[in-house]
C-alpha cells in the first residue's frame, strides 16, 4: 500500500485564519459606520 494522505495542512490553516479575519474586519467596518453613517 503506497497510499499516503497529502500533507497540506498549511493551506487549511491559511484559509481558516483568513475567513474570520475578513468577517471581523467587515464587522468592525459596519460598527464604525453605524456610529457615523
Amino acid at each position: 500500500m503506497g497510499d499516503t494522505v497529502p500533507q497540506n495542512a498549511g493551506y487549511l490553516m491559511a484559509a481558516y485564519i483568513l475567513v474570520p479575519t475578513i468577517l471581523i474586519a467587515y464587522a468592525v467596518s459596519l460598527y464604525r459606520r453605524s456610529r457615523n453613517p
Binding site: D3, V5, P6, Q7, N8, A9, Y11, L12, A14, A15, Y16, L18, V19, P20, I22, L23, I24, Y26, A27, L30, Y31, R33, S34, P37
Partner: protein, 221 residues
C-alpha cells in the same frame, strides 16, 4: 434593542459558532484520503459561495419588487445584501485559490466557474460604485434594481457553468438533483457551517440595512 444592535449580536454569535464549526471540521470530521487536510477548506468555501448566491438572488428579488412597489425599504435591503454578498464573494475568491494550489497545482485558472465568480464579484463592486455615483434616490434605486436582476442571471449561469463548460472546478455535490454525494459526517459539518454563514449574513444585513436607513433619513430629513 435596535436592528443594528440585534445584527451585531447575531454576528458575534455567528463568529463564536464559526469557531465551533472549525472544531468539528478539524477534530470530528474525517480527512479526505486523496486531498488531505486542505479538503477541509470546503467547509468554509462552499457555504460562503452558497451564501453569496443567496445574497445576490435576494438582492435581485428585492430590486425586482422595488420596480413594482417603489418601496425604498426594498432598495435598502438590496443595497445591504449586495455589500454583504461582496464580502462573502471575497471569501470565496480567496479560499478557492488556497484550496486550488495544493489540489490542482495552480492558484488560478481562467475556466468558466472561476472567471464567472470573479465577474460576479466585479459586478457587485460595480453595483456599489453605481449607487455611489447616482445622487437621485429614485433613479439610483431603479438603476440598481436593473443591475441586481442582471446579477441574478449571472448567478444562475455561474451555478450551471460547470455542466456547460469543461472545467477544473468540481460539479455541485450538494445543491443538485438527487441526494448529496457526501458521507454523513462531512455533510453534517457542511450544513452546520452553512447555518453559521446564514446567521452571519442575516446579522450583517441587519446592520447594513440600518446604516442605509439612517443615511436615507439624513438626506430626506
Amino acid at each position: 434593542m435596535t436592528i443594528a444592535q440585534k445584527g451585531r449580536w447575531l454576528v458575534i454569535v455567528g463568529l463564536v459558532l464559526l469557531g465551533g464549526v472549525y472544531v468539528r471540521a478539524l477534530a470530528f470530521t474525517p480527512v479526505e484520503r486523496f486531498q488531505g487536510p486542505a479538503q477541509k477548506i470546503f467547509y468554509v468555501h462552499v457555504p460562503a459561495a452558497v451564501t453569496t448566491e443567496l445574497a445576490v438572488i435576494l438582492m435581485g428579488l428585492a430590486g425586482a419588487f422595488f420596480l413594482f412597489l417603489k418601496d425604498l425599504r426594498l432598495d435598502r435591503f438590496a443595497e445591504a445584501s449586495a455589500e454583504v454578498g461582496t464580502v462573502f464573494a471575497a471569501i470565496v475568491l480567496t479560499t478557492g485559490p488556497i484550496w486550488g494550489k495544493p489540489i490542482w497545482g495552480t492558484w488560478w485558472t481562467w475556466d468558466a466557474r472561476l472567471t464567472l465568480t470573479l465577474l460576479l464579484f466585479f459586478l457587485l463592486v460595480g453595483y456599489q460604485v453605481l449607487r455611489g455615483a447616482v445622487t437621485d434616490s429614485g433613479l439610483r434605486a431603479r438603476y440598481s434594481a436593473v443591475l441586481g436582476i442582471c446579477a441574478v442571471v449571472l448567478v444562475v449561469f455561474n451555478h450551471l457553468s460547470v455542466y456547460l463548460f469543461p472545467t477544473l472546478h468540481p460539479q455541485p455535490i450538494v445543491i443538485k438533483p438527487g441526494k448529496p454525494d457526501l458521507p454523513p459526517a462531512m455533510l453534517l459539518t457542511l450544513l452546520l457551517s452553512f447555518g453559521v454563514f446564514l446567521v452571519l449574513y442575516v446579522g450583517f444585513v441587519m446592520q447594513r440595512y440600518d446604516i442605509a436607513r439612517r443615511r436615507g433619513e439624513a438626506v430626506h430629513g
